[in-house]
């Protein structure tokens, strides 16, 4: 029984970290219909900024997160204006080529500026160490990641489903021309959602840095993981992504605990099974 609890708590923690890191991609892919393979690159930029702010400038952790999120958005603005704007609504292959190109450029620049070594984001004293849950210990920052994941999920769901901006966003996604005709400034809606998505990836990069340490190849190394989460959850669906993360985190953790020699066999088996049954992901909507 203890083992079951233990696996469950690990699965929850891992799943929530996955969620925080991948949700930005779900927003761009689902709501903006851009296959943004440079998602990991933005997460990495966030990680680098936070690492630089906290380690070299000695800023507080919370401040480093804020700086990372806004710094990454600032860097992403010219990229959006000059590059992404051209590929909205373009065929997926064009988007893939463009964004993977951006990824390689960012990897090269990160390698040049920060060097190839690992960078960490030092945690504040409150998040260091571990909490005793009675039957086992869990790292405090994992609990923090779980809370961050829940907060992000709730805030996003509210923003998309319950606010005026969310209505405009959904309208622009479903039919941009019609929404524009009705007076929605679609380019502003797109720019804001892109900024939010980039900010989320940066946030995920920082919060997840304990699990996925920041180094130049971060952007490519975890790309498959991000894409799997989004495709299983259904692009653009917040609850879908959440369920996908918990499910995949659970399967991966259980497999790793009970049969590590099978590697990621069970993880990908589950992915194949889910995609067979739900081709658009757990909560994906048919394309309108």
């Amino acid at each position: 029984m203890q083992t079951v609890f233990s696996i469950a708590i690990d699965a929850l923690a891992y799943g929530m970290v996955l969620f925080v890191i991948s949700i930005g991609l779900s927003v761009t892919m689902g709501l903006m219909r851009v296959v943004n393979l440079a998602h990991g690159a933005f997460a990495m930029i966030g990680g680098y900024i936070a690492s630089y702010a906290a380690r070299d400038l000695g800023l507080a952790y919370g401040f480093a997160i804020v700086l990372a999120v806004f710094g990454t958005i600032l860097i992403a603005i010219p990229i959006e204006r000059l590059l992404y704007r051209r590929i909205y609504g373009a065929p997926e292959l064009t988007q893939v080529l463009m964004t993977i190109g951006i990824t390689f450029c960012i990897i090269g620049i990160a390698n040049y500026v920060f060097g190839p070594t690992l960078k960490t984001v030092p945690l504040p004293a409150q998040l260091q160490g571990s909490v005793d849950l009675g039957f086992r210990a869990i790292a405090t920052h994992r609990l923090f990641a779980i809370l961050c994941g829940l907060a992000v999920a709730a805030a996003l769901w509210y923003a998309i489903e319950r606010t005026a901006f969310g209505v405009k966003l959904r309208a622009s996604v479903d039919n941009a021309a019609m929404a524009a005709a009705l007076g929605v400034r679609t380019e502003i809606v797109y720019a804001v959602s892109f900024a939010v998505a980039v900010g989320l990836s940066a946030f995920g990069g920082v919060v997840g840095a304990e699990l996925l340490p920041v180094e130049p190849y971060y952007a490519l190394r975890y790309m498959v993981t991000f894409l799997v989460v989004v495709s299983v959850g259904g692009a653009g669906s917040i609850p879908g992504a959440l369920v996908a993360c918990l499910l995949l985190g659970g399967i991966d953790t259980t497999g790793r605990y009970l049969m590590p020699e099978f590697g990621e066999f069970f993880f990908y088996l589950a992915v194949i099974a889910i995609i067979c049954v739900f081709p658009r992901g757990l909560a994906g909507r048919a394309k309108g």
Binding site: P116, T117, L118, E215, R221, T253, R256, P260, E264
Partner: protein, 390 residues
């Protein structure tokens, strides 16, 4: 007319070859991509050697030609080696970070009349594939065997081994098991985990549940080691008194700033620590730091490359610059010298390097940086992996 000029030029070029030659050395390694840091270390070691010892052997100029294989890719490695031999006319092949890359090249050596000096690839079997292979790095067996004795001496008799599921990981598992059982210990469980593991909490729980008093771990140096060492701390294994043993790949110097506090006190065995105290190493670190730019990036492949160059220089001396692979290799059999890592020699039979293996502990220096502090020396270690192959 054109043909005559060409013929004349060719004759000139050939006659020139008899006097002062340019001897080319082809170095294959990961100079871009995720392992670029290791390639950078190759280059730093080679540059450092040439800065200290000059770029001439006798009358011959030495020229290094680099070829990039970003990730383990035997086919590309073989193609590049072929190109180096045929088009560039290299007399020596060197470098090779990954075992499969080195393995792929061994069938070429005899016909090309080219010796291969391995500066990293650490699987025991490579030297058996061709009599023209010499290795100046280490093998996983060589660095993992002494830690078994360390574990036993520390009073640990039940150990769980946890390795990444790939060639060197399996080597490490076998080496530790052989060493530990010979010392009278017991490996209670052996876990092989996928290379792409990010979250090590479940593994840590397994370790706890196994009831072992210590854990032996092997992962390739890089991002995953950070997650592993952190998980070891955070899941209460360190505070629970489960001891941590590993070969030095886990605490390579370029990862230490990131590992930091989490790795403090971790004991590893390895052939080289940048902090090794000797005049030779001081000179080496100075030259190599200059070559690599940022001293914090200096790590073990640099010393393999440095000593590899030493061996090649000796080969060139022995052959007088003539291309004779067998003579060159024979000349360095039994060669011994003082490397930055300590006294070393080339074992005449296996052509692998015999060297000291050091037990090190991650310690904090006065300036707040972390380093591998050597605490014990295992002298003149050969490669036990070769014996295990038979």
């Amino acid at each position: 007319m054109k043909r005559t000029i060409l013929a004349a030029l060719a004759a000139l070029a050939m006659s020139g070859a008899a006097y002062a030659d340019t001897i080319k050395i082809g170095v294959v390694g990961p100079f871009s991509g995720p392992f670029a840091l290791q390639g950078k270390n190759f280059k730093a070691g080679i540059d450092a050697y040439m800065a200290v010892n000059g770029s001439k052997v006798g009358d011959d100029d030495i020229e290094i030609i680099y070829r990039d294989v970003p990730q383990a890719d035997p086919a590309q490695s073989k193609a590049l080696a072929q190109e180096l031999v045929v088009r560039e006319g290299v007399q020596y092949l060197a470098g090779f970070y990954f075992t499969p890359d080195a393995m792929a090249v061994t069938p070429l050596l005899e016909q090309a009349n080219v010796p291969l000096v391995i500066m990293n690839a650490a699987t025991s079997a490579i030297v058996t594939k061709s009599p023209l292979v010499v290795r100046t790095s280490f093998t996983t067996w060589q660095t993992s065997t002494p830690i078994a004795k360390v574990a036993k001496d520390a009073g640990v008799s039940k150990v769980i081994s946890v390795v990444s599921d790939y060639g060197p990981g399996v080597d490490a598992e076998n080496a530790f098991k052989a060493g530990f059982e010979a010392a009278g210990g017991e490996v209670v469980e052996a876990i092989r985990m996928p290379l792409a593991t990010n979250d090590f909490s479940p593994i840590m729980q397994r370790i706890k549940d196994s009831g072992a008093e210590g854990v032996f771990a092997f992962l390739p140096s890089g991002p995953t080691t950070l997650g592993f060492v952190k998980a070891y701390n955070e899941n209460g294994l360190k505070s629970g008194g489960i001891k941590f043993f590993a070969p030095g790949d886990l605490t390579q110097e370029s990862d230490l700033p990131a590992l930091g506090e989490a790795a403090l006190g971790v004991q590893t065995t390895f052939h080289y620590a940048v902090s090794h105290v000797s005049p030779e190493n001081k000179a080496f670190v100075e030259a190599a730091s200059k070559a690599i730019g940022n001293p914090a990036e200096l790590s073990f492949p640099s010393v393999g490359a440095y000593d590899g160059m030493h061996v090649i220089y000796k080969m060139i001396e022995a052959t007088g610059g003539e291309q004779d692979a067998q003579k060159a290799v024979d000349a360095v059999k039994g060669l011994s010298w003082t490397s930055p890592r300590g006294p070393v020699s080339i074992d005449p039979e296996s052509r692998h390097i015999t060297q000291n293996i050091y037990l090190r502990e991650v310690a904090k220096a006065d300036d707040g940086t972390y380093y591998n502090k050597e605490v014990q020396t295992f002298e003149k270690q050969g490669d036990p992996g070769l014996a295990a192959l038979k």
